[in-house]
Symmetry: C2
Subunit: 346 residues, 2 copies
Amino acid sequence: MKLGQATIKDIAKELNVSLSTVSRALKDYPGISSETKRKVKELAEKLNYRPNAIALSLRKSKSFTIGVIIPEVVHFFFSTVISGIEEVAFANGYNVILCQTNEKLQRELSSIEAMLDNQVDGLLVSYSKETEDFEHFTKLLKQNFPIVFFDRVPEIENTVNVTVNDFKGAYDATSHLINQGYKNIAHLAGPKNLTISRKRLDGYLAALQDHSIKQNPDWIIPCPIGTQEESFNFTKKLFENGKIKPDGIFASNDIAAAGAMMAVKSLGLKVPGDVGIVGFSDWQFSSMIDPPLSTVSQPGFQMGEKAISLLLEMINKKKDEIWSPKTVVLETELIIRKSSEKINKI
Amino acid sequence: MKLGQATIKDIAKELNVSLSTVSRALKDYPGISSETKRKVKELAEKLNYRPNAIALSLRKSKSFTIGVIIPEVVHFFFSTVISGIEEVAFANGYNVILCQTNEKLQRELSSIEAMLDNQVDGLLVSYSKETEDFEHFTKLLKQNFPIVFFDRVPEIENTVNVTVNDFKGAYDATSHLINQGYKNIAHLAGPKNLTISRKRLDGYLAALQDHSIKQNPDWIIPCPIGTQEESFNFTKKLFENGKIKPDGIFASNDIAAAGAMMAVKSLGLKVPGDVGIVGFSDWQFSSMIDPPLSTVSQPGFQMGEKAISLLLEMINKKKDEIWSPKTVVLETELIIRKSSEKINKI
DNA sequence: AACGTCACCGCAATCGATTGTGTTAATTTT
DNA sequence: AAAATTAACACAATCGATTGCGGTGACGTT
């Protein structure tokens, strides 16, 4: 109303026909004379008529809106995923409602409530670090409400997920360090309750094992907060206190890797050479730091595209059709830069 | 319906009362016995009743949704602004619909259409690089539709804007370089049709003038694309071709600054020392590159907060009240890091 | 006994659009 | 000429909630 937008009623009144005639004329239904159709369409054009999406949503119980729940917007990987989501949504006439949880469970819960109130047709979720119970998701899934989880996927049944191959990414990164001559590799791990953290840890461990390197529990350092400062401090401690010092670091994300790199450099050690470092995610800055950081790139944009494509499929199924649980795994790519160059090259 | 969500009708039928009674009971209207209120509320609780926001939107011609139109999601500054927007929106019970234009005018136009169809209560806009005509905005503004422009604000009348003090930021950055001993300063400028580019250019020029340094038109290099490669190439050319070479670079954004830094280093020049560099925006990576980049930080989060606060004010005015045009200017802060250290310190 | 008051609640219009089911009138069929 | 068909349109229910107004009893008042 604020826009004084013309409605079907305005057209009907102006032309002295009924609402239904206008509605049908606009959509070329049979049973309306071509003369009437012409007049209706002309007037609609003239009044700049545009159907009220809210009214349609109410009528059809479908909002053409999907909700996206992510931990943080200001995060290179997640913003890339959002970008992919937005592209496909836009191309398909869907709207994207965004909520960030700031890694808080409480916020996750209320965001979901808000989105359901707004009748979103489905949800794309990457849950928060605090989330350990998935009741709020299973409740919805039981009611056949479409949800696709991406990146951080819960270990519950009958879900549709999109992840990257975290295990292989971590395995490749660690193996790469080993092949470059770095044998004493520490791991800066992510929060324990995230599947991705565990998978990356597993990949790291598997790589060590396959190269007959014994793991050192002291060298697996969880970084629950995820800031650069955190990894800087942990890395500094690790190198200052240990009897045997690591000569390689595989970090579960680039921020941690960058912090570690600074810590190592601040101790007068050379990267690469004294210490080789590989991160995870290929953030924008990773190629710009000194030395440029080797890392495992995740196809964020594709992940977004894939996730929403799956969601749209689910949404557009007949309501009696049940979708089958599945997990799409996207492959990572090891990006080799200077930070992991061979020891003897230096 | 997908959720089998309970409606007011369900409650009414179950309790054998009318719809209006249920509605009023739920909102503690007078004229309903406390006994009835109790029963209604109990059943509502039991059925997990939640009002249908779509129905409310239709009834009230208000969707509690605002649209955000930005050039790119994967952009540190913009994602920070989004974060600020989302926080305030969430706190006030508003939803945020997001569209990115990818710097395309066509996309901007259709995004606005889509948002209006969805009855957003207002728009937050940072327009695309392609946008030179603002007809699509003035049309809405004439109809008193609430719009707040942020960062990239159009030079048209009667708008409400939030910007940073680009002029002063640029002036400070350039003056800083001069004070550090760098007198021959080139400027990597932004796209010409953006006000922010012009303001930053003006600040740069004013600083030169105030220090009695003559400007060199060849040293003002527009970077319309905005990639690191672009500024890398332009900077390289600049240093290879010029007779007199610059010893300072003020870039209108950090990406360009980073590209310039790489170009300068690739030519064997030292940063700082041979060349001092200052960027603009304080991207996440700026403190991590080598040398850490001096830059002008923009309060993105605050900008988002302020922009949506203004928008909500406008939305909640009585419809006959007219808001007055205004521009809120947020101050920048010069962040001094190593890339602009004094010449003689080296 | 007749009337007023008040508590409590229901009816129906409304928001904008869709759609199944009438209802006309003209046209065709027999 | 009467009956059947059909084109072209209107009516009204519907989606879920809100809200002005009207209605119905149970009281008290005079």
